[in-house]
């Protein structure tokens, strides 16, 4: 059992993010696996908000549950003395989750409608599992924050909104659940939305879409409800099917972290995944951190020679000159160069049970590069506890080629790792503007 901590959301994180250039983020971000027909989204809700029921309802009503899965849920529900199938049992996959009736860890679900494919990261709402919400949100293009219409905006709701803002999830849905228990009242919904809007503005969320639902009764989940004719917007699934997914513009600066050098005879192919922009045969490129320049002579897209490669393709490139290029280096071209620095400033979410303290020696993994680092400052604090959101300054043993997280969720993100046992300690989001 993880330790319970009663830490509160660091409001300064939100305020600081509010000043970042979000318009730049919206166009230049590179979500992992961005394809026009796939939406990656995450759900978060507090205990007893009915999140598992909502996800179960979404899967069930969109006919994404197959006969044997439903049969297993019906049997398990009967064994627990319930008359109707408990849809939460569809998603709570661990023994401990079913015993306690709560979600402990992220589960990934895959479903599709005729319009779109979905990858759902179903994340826990408990305060002690915030790190698992961070895990789910890191790759999400949309987050659903669930609230109970009766209890309204609670501390966990604010925390979920802060995580969505911190991780730069491009779209947020506020799902106001259990509308059946407040008589489907428009006033309740509107008061909640207004209150959340205040927090959202403080946290720098670019915007959000509120939807009144009843997961238990199925209102506005897949089908529009007839019991809330005052609500003119889409049902949840309808919104998920139509929300635009940000694609990486091909004219963004190219970022190509070298993963592995494939040697074949005298030829060296630099293998990696293009995380933003595009690379063309003939492009002048810079290798970081050495700063040496060269020219691309060939690109191999997994067995096919191509003239141009685009993010997020995994490719191999060849350079004109015999350079000393290896895993951990970053090849870039076009636009602004990354910032080369040994002084890293970032917003962080601390993930490990052991605290992170000023003076700690850690490993920092950024793209394919892992370097030693020392924690220099924690925005005045002496330590960060599990699930704390905060700010950090690190000094690294070697220079890193960094972008702002607001510009790239790939080249602006890093992990801190415990050198003793390899545990993942902290998630970091580079803030080049930093503390000034």
């Amino acid at each position: 059992m993880s330790t319970m901590t009663g830490t509160t959301v660091d409001a300064t994180v939100g305020l600081r993010l509010a000043t970042a250039d979000t318009s730049r983020f919206a166009t230049a971000d590179t979500p992992r696996l961005a394809t026009a027909d796939t939406l990656r989204f995450a759900t978060a809700g507090s205990v007893d908000d009915g999140k598992s029921t909502l996800v179960g309802r979404l899967l069930h009503d969109s006919k994404s549950v197959l006969a044997d899965q439903l049969e297993a849920v019906e049997t398990a529900s009967r064994n627990r003395g319930k008359d109707t199938p408990d849809l939460a049992l569809l998603t709570d996959g661990l023994r401990a989750e079913r015993e306690q009736g709560i979600t402990i860890d992220v589960a990934y679900r895959y479903f599709a409608t005729p319009k779109r494919r979905f990858i759902l990261a179903d994340t826990p709402g408990h305060v002690q599992y915030t790190r698992n919400m961070v895990t789910g949100a890191s790759t999400a293009e949309l987050a659903i924050i669930l609230v109970d219409s009766r209890s309204g905006i609670v501390e966990q709701t604010r925390r979920h909104a802060a995580v969505a803002a911190l991780l730069r999830v491009p779209q947020v849905v506020l799902a106001v659940n259990k509308m059946d228990l407040v008589g489907y009242a428009q006033g309740v919904f509107e008061r909640l939305v207004e209150e959340f809007a205040g927090y959202a503005a403080e946290l720098g969320l670019p915007g959000f879409t509120p939807i009144p639902v009843s997961a238990l009764a199925g209102d506005n989940v897949v089908e529009r409800s007839t019991r809330m004719d005052w609500y003119a917007g889409p049902a949840l699934l309808e919104f998920l099917e139509n929300v635009p997914v940000a694609a990486d513009p091909a004219d963004a600066p190219a970022r190509f972290p070298v993963q592995y050098v494939i040697r074949h005879g005298d030829v060296r192919h630099y293998a990696g995944q293009l995380v933003s922009g595009s690379l063309r045969v003939g492009d002048r490129v810079t290798v970081h951190p050495s700063g040496e320049t060269s020219e691309i002579t060939a690109i191999d897209a997994l067995g096919t020679a191509v003239e141009t490669a685009y993010a997020p393709q995994s490719v191999g490139v060849r350079l004109a000159d015999q350079r000393d290029v290896s895993r951990g280096d970053m090849i870039t071209a076009g636009g602004e160069a990354p910032v080369l620095t040994q002084d890293v400033r970032a917003a962080v979410c601390h993930l490990a049970d052991r605290p992170l303290r000023v003076g700690d020696r850690v490993l920092l993994k950024h793209t394919t590069r892992t370097v030693k680092a020392i924690v220099k400052d924690l925005a005045g604090a002496q330590a960060l506890s599990v699930n704390d959101l905060g700010r950090i300054t690190l000094r690294t043993a070697e220079p890193l080629a960094l972008d702002d997280y607001g510009v790239s969720r790939r080249t602006g993100a890093f992990l801190l790792i415990d050198p003793a046992d390899g545990a993942t300690l902290t998630a970091g989001m580079v803030d080049l503007a930093g503390l000034g």
Partner: protein, 300 residues
Amino acid sequence: MSAFTLSHLDALESEAVHIFREVAGEFENPVILFSGGKDSIVMLHLALKAFAPAAVPFSLLHVDTGHNFPEVLEYRDRAVAAHGLRLHVASVQDYIDRGVLRERPDGTRNPLQTLPLTEKIQAEKFDAVFGGGRRDEEKARAKERVFSLRDEFSQWDPRRQRPELWNLYNGRHAPGEHVRVFPLSNWTELDVWQYIAREGIELPEIYFAHDREVFRRAGMWLTAGEWGGPKDGETVEKRQVRYRTVGDMSCTGAVDSDAVTLDDVIAEIAASRLTERGATRADDKMSEAAMEDRKREGYF
């Protein structure tokens, strides 16, 4: 703006290749679990593409239950020879012959695979073990990380998994520990079949409809054979069937099918109202947490 988008399959392929290359870059002695089933065949195909024109820098490991389909063993050996790979075999039969493992009353050898697998990993000092597991297969698998740390007993503790953010996979581990790696985590059964069709990947024939001597047990068609079926009261009949998964003969069921081509198979799966494991795996039906319990023990 000239936005470029990858197709769904290209994006999955790119992500899986990225995972293979991360492991090659960070580990000393990785191995690919290779059963001769469609998921491991797709894994091998992806690994070949990830390191071309050079050879795959990993060996293969097969956990041989002793109850394998002959067509699958033949395919395995052909694949190993064709690509000049090294094959390690962990043999359940060998453990039974030595008296270390005992045959179960129900005749299934699936749970018996865990000990030979984990001892082989320790003996060969494998530090990364690729598995073809997909999160869409089963509700415990849906909880699995792409990089899943196992202790020196190969155990999975779902409550102590490392958080896994962005595509920054943490492969650090202590001596004796290893990491299970799942490059197909985000693929569905249909994705696997569509990719096999697109890439023209050859599969063992048992994936396509054929006539077979089978008998009914626990609602599934099992292949009659020396492994212990049929028993009294079970009658053998010849039916046109195919397999959706390939595993130990004692617990892998066939489905009635007339799908003889890849297109037929894809159409059949798209219309199926049963999950892959629900339709064909007896061992997952033993309890609500059967897979979770086996995974905790070190199963793949």
